[in-house]
Structure formats: structure tokens, C-alpha cells
């Protein structure tokens, strides 16, 4: 028997998945508290002890891990124009699985530098100027970054004409400094792959060690990537298929967590109706958004605030009743609903998180009235024809009616300008294996794909 151990060192839990590769079976999943402050191995061993050992003991031929422990992969990005290169840099970092602390635009100010010092990011991502376009910003910001009282890993992904020069400037003060292709080589053209790769390489070569995750590497082989990157990778595999084995086509993954709600879409998002014009920055095929204000526990308060009347209407409660329940939620992040009323509240919160997160992720269709009649302008991705929506995250997995929560992702005729999925099939990542399958893809893509198709539960 050959076993594979897949580990996700999370910010609160260390989650493990044990796979029997030949039969394409999951032998068990377990979780225990992450112990990053002492020795990361403790939590891992506790989790492993929960899975009954087969006769003859474990025979782990591969042990792979991803991590979002110790604050995840923290990135601060900067670009020139807020809506252009700064936004492109943000999308590149999100696609690399990062947690974005700040995105700066134009020249870095003294205040911006102070924020960098206070936030202590793992990586700085410096963009600005299209290829052959603005040169000053990249050089000036490189110089400004040399005023920082600390040395940080930097990825330079700006105007190619001056990016080598910017790297030279940065190298005087920072290490390592890596050059990647421009995130926006032409106006409104997004090219995030090279920057994503550079970020991941830095993660492997430097960040893991800096976070104390290398202590686990005596036992496991490698921490391969940040957890969100693993989920995005699994999503891509599931959508595209591998070789002869077909994928599920375009899809959406919604991860409702305690602090954030993540949405991943693997979809082109082209207009589904004729005669629609596209505007704005094009979206990456594999797109990830993270909503820091939409979470079930740590961010419950901002979630309630963001949902406004929707939540009270949905629950049929008064604002006071909502606030009372919210207070419990805030004081006790480990709170689990114990009665029907509390369950109802949790469902409501989850539904709002999904509704808002998908709303922000999906594109919009606007009607513009011109002297020649109405024109339709689409910004972002049209997801109306998307066939598959997958739910994951603690709230959904432990909920009795996950479709009630996932229903928030659906197109709403009351908001016809939001291009949310109209008639998707819903799936649940009931064993919480998506990140693990993203890791498995690295060594056995076909099997990872088949196992996802086998273990994701149709609702």
C-alpha cells in the first residue's frame, strides 16, 4: 500500500488528507490546532493520530504541504494608476495566493513607507508603466523603497524598459530582488503569470523559512505553495480536465471562512448575449477574489454591516435581535450554533457572505443610452451560463442545508445587472479536499482530477 499525506497548515487548523493513490481513495481527513509558535509538527502529529492507522502502518511515499499559517503570504503591491497597473499588480498577487495588505498607486509617500514598516509584508510587488510607457514611477518607487529601515523580498513587474534598472537600485538595499514580466505590458492587457511564478518561487526559497515552516520539512518534503494557490490550482484542473479525462468545464468555488470569503472562478466570462461591448481591465481566466470584510466570525460585524437590510429581511428579525446574536459571535470565535434560532442566524450570515462575495466577483452589465438607442456594456466576467458552483469552508461543510447558503450565488432578477450564475449545479467539498487535491496535482494530476470528481458531493 502506498500512501500520500497532504497537509494544509492553516492559520488556525492544520488539516490533513491521507490518500491511497492506487485505488484513488481518501483514507481519512483530520484537523488539529496549528502550532506555529512552538513546533509546527505538534499539530500535524495530533491530526495524524486521529486517522486510524492501517494494518502494516503508514507507508507515506510522498508528503506534501501548503500553508496559510503565520498570517499567510502577505504582500503589499504598488503600481502607477490605481485602476490600471496597481489593479493588475493586485490581481497578480491574489492569483499567487497572497493575502494583500495594501495596494499603493502613484509615487510612494512617507506614509506609505510607514505602512510597509508597520505591516511587515513577506513580499513587495512593484509594478508601474506599460512596456515603453511611464518610466519614472518604477525608478522613483524603487529609490523610495531603499529608504525603508528593513530589507524585504521584492518582485519587480513593471515597464520592461526600466525594470532591470529598478532591480539594480533595489538590490542595494533589499534581498532577494527578482524581475518578472510586466503585469500590464500593454494598456488593458493583463499578464500575471510571470509575476505569479516569481512570487511562488520566493515563497519556496525564502518565505517558508522565515515563517518557521521549514521545521516541518525534516518530516515532510516541501511546503509547495500558499493554500489559496493550491485551491486555485485544483479548481483549474477540475475545470480543464487532464488528458483523456474530461473536466467539469467553467466553475466557481466559494470558500466561506471565519475571517474572509474567497471566491475563485475558472471562466472566460465572455458576454453570453450578442451585441455587448466589453469595458475595463480584462479578467484573468483563473480569478480569485478575497473579501476581508465578509467572514462568519472574526469579520461577522463587518459582514452584517455590509449586508444592511438584507440580513434582517432574510431572517425576519429586528436589528436588535441581530445585534444581540452578533455580540455572541464576536466574543466567541469558536461559537457553534446550538439551537434552531442560532442555526438560522448562521445560515443568514453565510448566505449574506456568499451573496456579497459573488456580487463583487461577478461582472456587471450596464445599459448605456446613446442617441442611437440602448447599448450594453459589460465590465468583468459574465457568469450567467456557468454550469458548476462548488462550496467549501467550515460553515458550509457543517451545515444541514448548504444549498440555502450557496443560493446566495444565484442570479437575482431584482438585480439584473449583476452577471451571477443563473442555473448552476451545486456541489459541496464535503471532505474538504480541494487544497489537498491542488497539492496532489503536482505529482499525480490525473488521479487528483478523478478523486475530485468522485468526492465532491452533488447537492
Amino acid at each position: 500500500m502506498q500512501h500520500i499525506l497532504l497537509i494544509d497548515f492553516g492559520s488556525t487548523y492544520t488539516k490533513i488528507t491521507v490518500v491511497e493513490l492506487e485505488r484513488e481513495e481518501i483514507l481519512g481527513t483530520a484537523a488539529a490546532g496549528t502550532t506555529i509558535d512552538t513546533n509546527i509538527m505538534e499539530g500535524l502529529n495530533q491530526a495524524l493520530a486521529q486517522i486510524p492507522e492501517p494494518e502494516g502502518g503508514w507507508n507515506f511515499v510522498r508528503k506534501l504541504a501548503c500553508s496559510s499559517a503565520a498570517g499567510g503570504l502577505k504582500i503589499i503591491a504598488s503600481g502607477l494608476v490605481k485602476e490600471l497597473t496597481a489593479e493588475a499588480a493586485r490581481r497578480a498577487a491574489l492569483g499567487a495566493g497572497a493575502r494583500i495588505l495594501e495596494v499603493f498607486s502613484y509615487e510612494l509617500t512617507a506614509q506609505d513607507l510607514d505602512k510597509i514598516v508597520a505591516a511587515k509584508p513577506d513580499i513587495l510587488l512593484l509594478a508601474g508603466g506599460t512596456d515603453g510607457g511611464n518610466k519614472e514611477i518604477l525608478l522613483k518607487n524603487a529609490e523610495r523603497l531603499c529608504e525603508l529601515p528593513l530589507s524585504l523580498p521584492v518582485v519587480v513587474a513593471g515597464n520592461k524598459t526600466v525594470s532591470s534598472q529598478a532591480v539594480e537600485i533595489l538590490k542595494l538595499h533589499h534581498a532577494p530582488v527578482v524581475r518578472a514580466d510586466n503585469v500590464m505590458p500593454e494598456l488593458n492587457v493583463l499578464d500575471v503569470d510571470s509575476a505569479r511564478k516569481a512570487i511562488r518561487d520566493l515563497f519556496l526559497s525564502h518565505i517558508i523559512q522565515a515563517k518557521g515552516l521549514d521545521k516541518a520539512e525534516a518530516f515532510i518534503e516541501r511546503v509547495l505553495m500558499p493554500t489559496p494557490a493550491a485551491v486555485l490550482s485544483a479548481a483549474e484542473l477540475l475545470a480543464k480536465g487532464y488528458g483523456e479525462e474530461e473536466g467539469w468545464g467553467e466553475l466557481l468555488i466559494i470558500d466561506v471562512g471565519g475571517a474572509t470569503t474567497d471566491v475563485h472562478s475558472i471562466a472566460k466570462g465572455d458576454p453570453s448575449k450578442p451585441g455587448v461591448m466589453l469595458k475595463g481591465l480584462p479578467e484573468p481566466y483563473a480569478k480569485r477574489t478575497v473579501e476581508g470584510d465578509l467572514g462568519m466570525r472574526y469579520s461577522a460585524e463587518s459582514l452584517v454591516e455590509a449586508s444592511g437590510h438584507h440580513l434582517t429581511q432574510y431572517l425576519g428579525w429586528s436589528t436588535e435581535e441581530v445585534n444581540a446574536q452578533l455580540k455572541i459571535c464576536k466574543q466567541e470565535p469558536w461559537w457553534v450554533p446550538k439551537n434552531q434560532r442560532e442555526n438560522q442566524f448562521d445560515t443568514g450570515l453565510g448566505r449574506m457572505a456568499v451573496e456579497l462575495a459573488v456580487k463583487r466577483h461577478a461582472g456587471t452589465l450596464e445599459v448605456v443610452y446613446t442617441p442611437f438607442g440602448a447599448s450594453y456594456v459589460q465590465q468583468g466576467k459574465d457568469l450567467t451560463q456557468l454550469p458548476v458552483v462548488i462550496g467549501t469552508g467550515g460553515v458550509l461543510l457543517h451545515h444541514s442545508r448548504p444549498t440555502e447558503i450557496l443560493g446566495g450565488a444565484l442570479f437575482d432578477s431584482a438585480e439584473p445587472t449583476l452577471l451571477k450564475p443563473q442555473e448552476p449545479a451545486f456541489y459541496l467539498d464535503q471532505k474538504y479536499i480541494l487544497a489537498a487535491m491542488g497539492l496532489l496535482r503536482e505529482i499525480a494530476p490525473l488521479k487528483a482530477l478523478r478523486m475530485m470528481k468522485k468526492y465532491l458531493l452533488k447537492l
Binding site: L80, T85, G129, G132, N134, L187, M277, Y369, F372, S375
Partner: protein, 136 residues
């Protein structure tokens, strides 16, 4: 000689896409780097594109007669955004009705436009002006 960069677009709620494509082609053929932001372009889009690409000229088209309203304030916004000295050309059917073009030209020049073209002008004229204004 370094290539000169132009930001090209059709301003306002104007959807005339064909002329826009033709201009893109003609200016590219003439050796310019054309950053085409297409139709339905707002003043802000012209400015953002010009900053990011370090453009030398903004070329505004307006075919539907509302050009004067759409173009008002563009120069001031450029000044505010730090590219106040950029060349701005405008052309098309800028106004409706039979108006004396010299009056129209004066109005647009007062608004800060460097070159103003009447309907039916050939792109070659603008290309010649570009060479003159950009000294190349």
C-alpha cells in the same frame, strides 16, 4: 527615433466604432504607437491611459454631436493629473447644426485643445500636424 505614443478613443456615450478602427490602423501604419481605448471612453479613461503609457498625444473623436459637452474640462483634468502639457487633438462631428467651423474651432481651442478638425478631414492632415507638433 523613439516611437511616439497616442491615446485614441471615442469620447462620451458615443459608439461609433468603425471610424475608431480606421484611425487606429492609419496612425499605426504611420509609425505611431496607438493606445486605442475604443468607444464610450470617459475623460478619466483617456487620462489614466495617457499616464500609464507616458503618451505624447491624446486624440479624441466625437461623432454624435455632443462633443462640446463631453470634452469640456478635459484639459483642466489633465493639469490636475500631472500631464497638463500633453497635446490634445479633437475631431469628428463635434457639434450639431450648421455652425461656422471657425467658431467651433475657437471654442475648442479655448477649452485647451491644440488641434481641432472639421468633419470630412483626411487622417493625413492630422499625421502631418503630429509630425510638426512632436518635432519628428
Amino acid at each position: 527615433m523613439e516611437q511616439k505614443t497616442l491615446v485614441l478613443g471615442v469620447i462620451g456615450a458615443d459608439v461609433h466604432a468603425v471610424g475608431n478602427r480606421i484611425l487606429d490602423y492609419v496612425f499605426s501604419q504611420a509609425g505611431f504607437k496607438v493606445i486605442n481605448i475604443g468607444v464610450l471612453a470617459s475623460q478619466e479613461e483617456f487620462i489614466r491611459a495617457a499616464i500609464e503609457t507616458a503618451a505624447d498625444v491624446i486624440l479624441v473623436s466625437s461623432l454624435y454631436g455632443h462633443g462640446e459637452i463631453d470634452c469640456r474640462g478635459l484639459r483642466e483634468k489633465c493639469q490636475e493629473a500631472g500631464i497638463g502639457d500633453i497635446l490634445i487633438y479633437v475631431g469628428g462631428n463635434l457639434v450639431i447644426g450648421k455652425q461656422d467651423f471657425s467658431m467651433v474651432e475657437k471654442r475648442f481651442k479655448d477649452m485647451g485643445f491644440d488641434r481641432v478638425y472639421p468633419p470630412g478631414i483626411m487622417p493625413e492632415v492630422a499625421i502631418m500636424d503630429l509630425h510638426k507638433d512632436l518635432n519628428f
